[in-house]
Amino acid sequence: MTMVAGLSVKTLSRIALAGFAVFEFLVLLAAFTKPAYGYVDPGSGLLAVQVGGSMLAGGLFILRTKIRKLLRMAPKTEPKPESDK
């Protein structure tokens, strides 16, 4: 069994998990903000469109190869010249 500073990796891993749980609990406590009361910012609609558009563009960028394949837009391979045969 691999040991680090006298502790097994599995024990260390469990300690890290417990640390994460405590950290998350504290951050979550901080998330319980006092409710706000008011009106919708008229710019929030445009902001939502901007976020949605960015995510769509990002998705297209990440999946560009798969989309090309799906649409059969992969670059055609040039037929090899006779002499190469």
């Binding site: 998990l17 979550l28 406590l29 998330a31 903000t33 706000a36 009361y37 710019g43 995510m55």
Partner: protein, 529 residues
């Protein structure tokens, strides 16, 4: 089942950026909004705050990236399905629950969300519980769900590519340094003279005050003024939002929508889809008052009176909403970078903001803890100011008064706030009575709009009493309008419809001496039909 593959650093950074956007302070969304409404309604400048938000976002994205890499490394130790079931907690479920909770908290601060059904705790549970159930029932399904959610967060990360540049650009806007309060030097007043005191109680409903009052609700000061005033019982509202209605009364023309510029100036639209025009203080009744030789004073919350009417007012005080998460225009960029951490620590410790205690004077009231009341009493007592406009933030929801104990608090109903408005009126009228000009002062009591039941029902702070008082959601659109002329001691009611927008013309005619008594007011009201 094999562990999730380690992702490239660039992808981890994008995912971290997506998580950072969800974890970021809610103020981020308000600062990114193209409407600049937030800059309009805050004390300026906000440049150090905006700069700090850009830094916070960048730091959060790096921190989130490290957390994500850590979680991935953690998962690498549990390679089989049996091993993955033996993990003490489904960490990704907790992580996404945390992201959901913080995102909802941010949207509440940004006022995108205010339905009482949506809370941070519920957002956490709504995400974490289904994922945990999936982890208990199908580790493979859990892994697929985690991958899908990580992909969505990664897509959100693309937004950082325009968000940080947008914040940097906004942080270089030329914003004025607001004075929240000023009093220009004026010559001493030697003899009693005419004054107009205009008290605008935000969201006061004629229906709730006089037509269908809550059983047992005691409003002695409103009743006393009513007994000596001309009361309009069918005022036609000009709009339903304070930021539209009040400037429209100042200008004497309808306003459909108000926004801000990056520099914090007000622009408005008179008709839907019309052109945006800059607000011109020289076209307001305060400018007209000064041209007629009157001195002017105004105070209120939410609208930046001391900025947009700086040249047209001799006395001013404005209470602007404080920035959330300990951000402040008075802090340096570095101070604002660490402000949200201090705010989080405060929330964990359960600290709450305290109201300013009233000064210890014989006339002091617990209600003096409210800035508009404290400064409003001072403005009314300042006899050098001829035209006084007081925008008082009650009975605007949410409830913040206990009518039984007379204490200001964090809860209550619209009915409680109506009682608070009555007590405030009592203080102001008592202060007015002490002035040497009391017998020559015309008092106008109005509201900007009625109680917007349709806006507040089902939001935070809506109470059972509100539900019953509103007749289960019935909206009566009539705002308040009462006028007491000097020496008037009998009530009169004008029951035909009168537009609230007509107040501009009404006050102008009062200042020029065209309307000085009930008969002249009757004639004016008849023309408004």
């Amino acid at each position: 089942m094999t562990s999730l593959p380690r992702t490239p650093w660039s992808r981890s950074w994008l995912e971290g950026a997506g998580a950072a956007i969800l974890l970021a302070p809610g103020l981020l969304w308000l600062q990114l909004s193209q409407s600049h409404v937030d800059a309009f309604h805050r004390l300026l400048p906000l440049t150090t705050v905006t700069r700090a938000l850009a830094v916070d976002l960048a730091l959060l994205s790096l921190a989130s990236m490290l957390v994500i890499r850590g979680l991935e490394a953690q998962g690498a130790h549990y390679t089989t399905i049996a091993a993955r079931r033996s993990v003490p907690v489904p960490v990704w479920a907790m992580w996404f629950g945390l992201l959901a909770a913080r995102a909802v908290a941010g949207m509440i601060v940004a006022q995108v969300l205010w339905w009482q059904q949506i809370t941070t705790a519920r957002a956490f549970l709504l995400v974490a519980i289904p994922l945990t159930i999936l982890w208990l029932t199908s580790v493979r399904g859990y892994d697929y769900a985690v991958r899908a959610l990580r992909f969505v967060v990664l897509l959100a990360g693309f937004c950082i590519l325009w968000m940080i540049p947008a914040l940097i650009v906004a942080s270089f806007a030329h914003q004025p340094h607001d004075e929240a309060q000023f009093r220009k030097p004026l010559p001493a007043v030697n003899a009693p003279h005419r004054r107009i005191v205009w008290l605008l109680f935000d969201e006061m409903s004629y229906d709730q005050t006089f037509a269908h009052r809550w059983p047992g609700l005691d409003l002695p000061n409103l009743d006393a003024l009513h007994a000596q005033s001309v009361t309009f019982s069918d005022v036609q509202p000009d709009g339903f939002y304070t930021e539209d209605v009040i400037p429209s009364m100042f200008l004497g023309k309808p306003i459909n929508d108000v926004r801000g510029t990056a520099a914090g100036w007000m622009i408005y639209q008179s008709v839907p889809n019309g052109s945006w025009q800059p607000f011109d203080g020289n076209q307001t009744l305060f400018a007209d008052a000064q041209r007629d030789g009157w001195t002017t004073g105004a105070l209120g919350e939410y609208n930046p009176y001391c900025r947009i009417l700086k040249d047209q007012l001799d006395s001013c005080w404005m209470g602007m909403p404080p920035l959330p998460d300990h951000f402040s225009r008075d802090k340096s960029t570095l101070g604002n970078v660490i402000a949200p951490i201090a705010a989080d620590l405060d929330r964990i410790a359960g600290h709450r903001a305290r109201l300013q205690a009233p000064a210890a004077s014989p006339d002091a009231s617990p209600l003096d803890a409210l800035g508009p009341v404290r400064h409003g009493r001072a403005l009314i007592g300042d006899e050098a100011i001829d035209l006084c406009f007081l925008h008082l933030p009650m009975p605007h929801p949410p409830g913040s008064y206990d009518r039984k104990t007379g204490r200001i608090g964090a809860s209550g109903s619209y009915i409680d706030n109506l009682a608070m408005a009555d007590r405030v009126l009592g203080l102001l009228m008592a202060d007015l009575a002490k002035t040497g000009d009391a017998q020559q002062t015309t008092v106008i009591l109005s509201s900007d709009h009625s109680w917007r039941v349709w806006l507040w029902r089902n939001t935070f702070g809506w109470t059972r009493e509100d539900e019953l008082a509103s007749g289960h959601g019935h909206f009566d659109p009539r705002p308040m309008l009462m006028i007491r002329f000097p020496g008037q001691n009998a009530p009169q009611e004008i029951s035909h419809p009168v537009p609230l927008l007509g107040m501009h013309d009404l006050i102008e005619q009062m200042m020029t001496g065209q309307i000085e008594n009930q008969q002249q007011l009757d004639a004016w009201a008849a023309q408004q039909q």
